[in-house]
Symmetry: C2
Subunit: 258 residues, 2 copies
Amino acid sequence: MRFTSEQRLDDGVLERRFTLGEIPGILWTPASASAPVPLILLGHPPLGLHKMYPRLVARARRSAAEGFAAAAIELPGSGDRPRWAGAEQAQADLRRAMEAGEPVGDEIIDALILPLVDKAVPESQAALDAVLSLHEIGGPVGYSGGVISIGIRLAVVEPRIVAAGLFAGSFVPRTMFEEARKVTIPLHVLLQWDDEGNDRQAALDLFDAFGSKEKTLHANMGGHTGVPQFAGEDAAGFFARHLRQPQAGARRQTGSRR
Amino acid sequence: MRFTSEQRLDDGVLERRFTLGEIPGILWTPASASAPVPLILLGHPPLGLHKMYPRLVARARRSAAEGFAAAAIELPGSGDRPRWAGAEQAQADLRRAMEAGEPVGDEIIDALILPLVDKAVPESQAALDAVLSLHEIGGPVGYSGGVISIGIRLAVVEPRIVAAGLFAGSFVPRTMFEEARKVTIPLHVLLQWDDEGNDRQAALDLFDAFGSKEKTLHANMGGHTGVPQFAGEDAAGFFARHLRQPQAGARRQTGSRR
């Protein structure tokens, strides 16, 4: 992990760009912290870190206000990272099906999502190795948003992730429903009730499939990009409940700070 | 409205019992308030105020901590109030169907719920008349919990209610789905995903039917009585957003206090 630039944002948050081998990433840490802080790994759609930066930095500032660090890495095939054989074909097939108003077949969804998950999850784990080796970051780790299938796989295979906020707004390969049953960490799932590109019933079925004892679905009105501000605040409360460190000699805080 | 007793709870909340004609009720007001406060009308299942008191007072304390008064009145046919012809028959029919594991027919649900709604809604409106005439209570009014069909009817017919938190955990007559389409105020709907006595799909259909532009569904794991503590905190945030008074000369607070 090599830091390539650093700046202080106006609210004191430290933003550092880094590369991890070939992979660019951004790490945000709170203005001041007296002890190693928890981390939220910020998922995002495969549109490139540059395009996603305004939304990522807003989420990172909110995390920092809660006392958490946040990190995001470029997804495989996004930004300047090389595409792989089949990715552009799957994207073209998806565009064609959606423009024709046809249902998007399982083969297209599998070709689009499964290789992305297979590549992105070990890279996310490598990023966790690197970021958690910094003295100012101690965990535990939450995963938030982005491609839901990446969140599902990470929740199953990565024990350092103790809670996940997922956005039920992407195509989900059928095999991921089986993986969803293996998830046991607390989940906070957002659903936009009128998401244009999303099958509401499939999202409800996926929520039902998760094996977690604590899982909450927050459904709000509006389309894919219309998540209301208060939904973000409820998600922040979820992470505060699950990531806040036990105080030395004090009971673990399970309530929110409201 | 005649006050019959008053006491200060340990957190300073003033609890006053009253009667409104034949109807007993309880009013809670915050320890101190410099201006007339908003009001939350606390709905509850038809088990009697006495039995419901521990849960009601907990909700009232939370409302008071947000700066809101809270009130509850005995439902028609509950506590010491007279039953009406058909009510006990409908309850017996319901018990029989549930014990036999049979589906509960529309006629039973209609006989159980529709007369209750027809009686309870004008009584709730009379209670609002009385409580809002007190100088220390100014509105706006939120409705919270209880029999969801009463909440639906009140949301349609009572303009002083500006926001409602509903619990999708009761039998809902088919005609109430039509009334649900006429609801336009902001809604916060709780659903227990594994509610034993509740049809999950019917609850989702009801949520879909509401005409409100702002409506949020919070689904949590567990049975009818297993609503997690953090769900109550999210509901408190909903009422804080919608009931908090505009400050003199200040912008209306639309954000939560977190």
